[in-house]
């Protein structure tokens, strides 16, 4: 018995140490699980055929887990990943800290000028790319054309939030399982705060003034939050405080939302008959404005970057050049059709008649991405970069706390005034502690 236990133990311990003898350069790529990234994994063979000296190891993780995992690794220079999928929030912060390697060997035929200007500026520092955009999104409104027609509503110009509220009232018919509007209600800096901040921008608000002091106690934020609570609380689905992107996608696809304002990437899901029961009854238009249209729709991109802890920067740049190239878009189109190419990053894609024909939402997506500017996204001047976030390390915590307070206002456990006062005091405390003033 003793002998058997000893052997088993040794075998397990020995199993813990893995030895590899491989002449190939193995790149470990951390990525989120979404359709475009999974498609890229399936096309790995094309890359390895062109670069037989490089092999790829994919690590796919849920977004929050990935963010925590790659942040730990890059901050400690763990060197576990050679290529990381990171958002536009991380790129400016990490590049400033020197955690990302500059992408300066993408090749002569990479055509950097073809990247959408708004996205390029979001992932560059002093004109140097620190991450390459894989796909990008803004926000827009998706609506049910059949319900609009039945209610006699036509959209002639960009809507305001007041007009949107009127339409939501007309469409709201809970007895027949249709809610006027679906919006993000789940608390989180990347959930309800993404939408509410763009609403705030539209009402002329900003997260911080030029001295980095929060402005949640101003009239602009009060107007924005009041509209959010009114429209979603009264004309949205029940239990809206727990709805994020996927919950609203489920509701919209099962025909329960008259309107839905969310990421442009949703357009391909809601118009896909395999996933949506209302695929042929969906219209697209820009996100509503209020006092201004500046910053009324967000800008986000998933990008590929290389941590400075990686020992394989050269091979990693070859991979990034392949995955974010124009040729890659053609490769996806040849295998999966033009409607499935990663959207929002290349100007040339939106000049391609084949893509425009395959993707009925292409014009609205382009309009939304083009009009979102991370530098000038508020009516009044601001010190931070980002439309629906401020690209400072403290924002994740601030956004989540404020998001919880706003979610409480939506759920009715707190008043709008109390939620704004709490948001102001907690943010003020965080910014003071961080030494901004």
């Amino acid at each position: 018995m003793k002998h058997v236990m000893g052997v088993a133990l040794c075998a397990l311990l020995a199993g813990g140490v893995s030895f590899t003898a491989n002449a190939q350069t193995k790149l470990t790529i951390a990525t989120v699980n979404n359709g475009d990234m999974i498609r890229m994994q399936k096309l790995t063979d094309d890359f390895t055929a062109k670069h037989p000296d490089i092999s790829l190891e994919w690590v796919t993780l849920e977004e929050n887990t990935l963010r925590q995992r790659v942040t730990t690794d890059i901050a400690t220079k763990g060197g576990q990943y050679d290529v990381m999928t990171i958002g536009t929030y991380e790129v400016p912060i990490w590049s400033e800290k020197g955690w990302l390697a500059p992408l300066d060997q993408l090749g002569a035929d990479y055509d950097e000028a073809d990247i959408m200007p708004a996205i390029r500026s979001a992932v560059s520092q002093d004109g140097q790319l620190y991450a390459a955009p894989f796909y990008a999104e803004s926000s827009m409104m998706m609506y049910r054309t059949d319900l609009f027609e039945a209610a006699g509503i036509t959209i002639t110009d960009r809507l305001t939030w007041d007009q949107t509220l009127d339409i939501a009232k007309k469409l709201h018919d809970p007895a027949n399982g249709v809610y006027g509007i679906c919006l993000r209600g789940k608390a989180g800096w990347g959930e309800n705060m993404a939408l509410i901040t763009t609403m705030g921008n539209a009402y002329g608000a900003r997260l911080f003034n030029e001295e980095w002091k929060p402005e949640f106690d101003g009239p602009e934020w009060k107007a924005a939050l009041s509209m959010y609570v009114d429209i979603l609380g009264n004309y949205g689905p029940p239990g809206a405080t727990s709805n994020g992107f996927n919950e609203n996608l489920s509701l919209f696809n099962s025909g329960k939302c008259g309107m839905w304002i969310d990421a442009t990437v949703a357009a391909s899901f809601v118009s896909n008959p395999a996933e949506s029961t209302v695929a042929d009854k969906v219209g697209f238009t820009e996100a509503p404005c209020a006092e201004t249209c500046t910053g009324a729709n967000w800008l986000w991109a998933w990008n590929l970057g290389i941590p400075t802890g990686s020992q394989k920067v050269e091979a990693a740049q070859k991979f990034i050049a392949w995955a974010t190239s124009k040729e890659y878009l053609e490769l996806v189109a040849s295998k999966e059709g033009w409607a499935n190419v990663p959207p929002g990053t290349r100007i040339s894609l939106y000049n391609n008649p084949k893509y425009l024909e395959a993707a009925p939402f292409a014009d609205e997506t382009l309009l939304a991405i083009d009009s979102a500017d991370p530098i000038n996204s508020t009516l009044k001047p601001k010190p931070y970069v980002g439309v629906q976030f401020a690209a400072i390390p403290e924002f994740q915590g601030i956004g989540t706390t404020v998001g919880q307070q706003f979610s409480a206002a939506l759920g009715g456990s707190s008043s709008i005034e109390d939620a704004l006062a709490s948001a102001q005091s907690s943010t003020d405390r965080t910014m003071q502690r961080a030494g901004y003033y």
Partner: protein, 277 residues
Amino acid sequence: MEKTFKSPLKHIAFSVFAWLVGLMIFFPIFWMVLTSFKSELDAISMPPMFFDFDWTLANYVEVQARSNYFKFAMNSVVLSVGSTLIGLVFAVTCAWAMAFSPTKRTKNALLWMLSTKMMPPVGVLVPIYLVFRDWGLLDNRFGIMMVLFLMNLPIMVWMLYTYFKEIPKDILEAARMDGATMPKEILFVLLPMAVPGIASTMLLNIILAWNEAFWTLNLTTSDAAPLTAFIASYSSPEGLFWAKLSAASTMAVAPILIIGWFSQKQLVRGLTFGAVK
């Protein structure tokens, strides 16, 4: 001893209540398995579909095509069984000393050991990550096995201590009178008597290590990644994923569910040992 009821009505009421509690606990697992056979569209349908949908194995096919399930499963087996076996070596000796040669500080030591479980793991993530980085243990099965072993050690010691306390000290003394050395006393006298307790401790710790999702996600990438990482790869921030996630989760919990099913008697006995005398 079987519980007897004087009134049959009470018996029925108790049985109904027990069944209801059992069904409530089982329902999420049942729903997960059911969802794994639906299309993504059926998985989100409202009202929910119970059996009237087009059954499909497509999610299992896709999950197997996208990920190497067996690699993750093998890592889960190695990590959970390995960490439990290592833990057992330390926990048996530790519990033996505490049960049969207690000092006035034994209780305090036991409580202190358990108190380490109250610390949120994220609090020590960066220091442990740095140690792992410097020792080359990131994404290494031996490294994560050590973390799991140390993490579950307090529970193993506590459980074994409880079992050992039930064993009459006189038997061990008799063995010593017959000339048994300390290792012989533990191996040939104590352990055979404590087999049910050790078996349930092992089973519980295998389950705990199997389900551990913080350290296994943070300290592994690909070579040492267990089934928790496999499941995590099927949750999506943008896009429907419930059916595929359910298929991945069903595949991940199936082995431990089967082991648990076959060993439920030992598990229940182990968990309720000493509760009713």
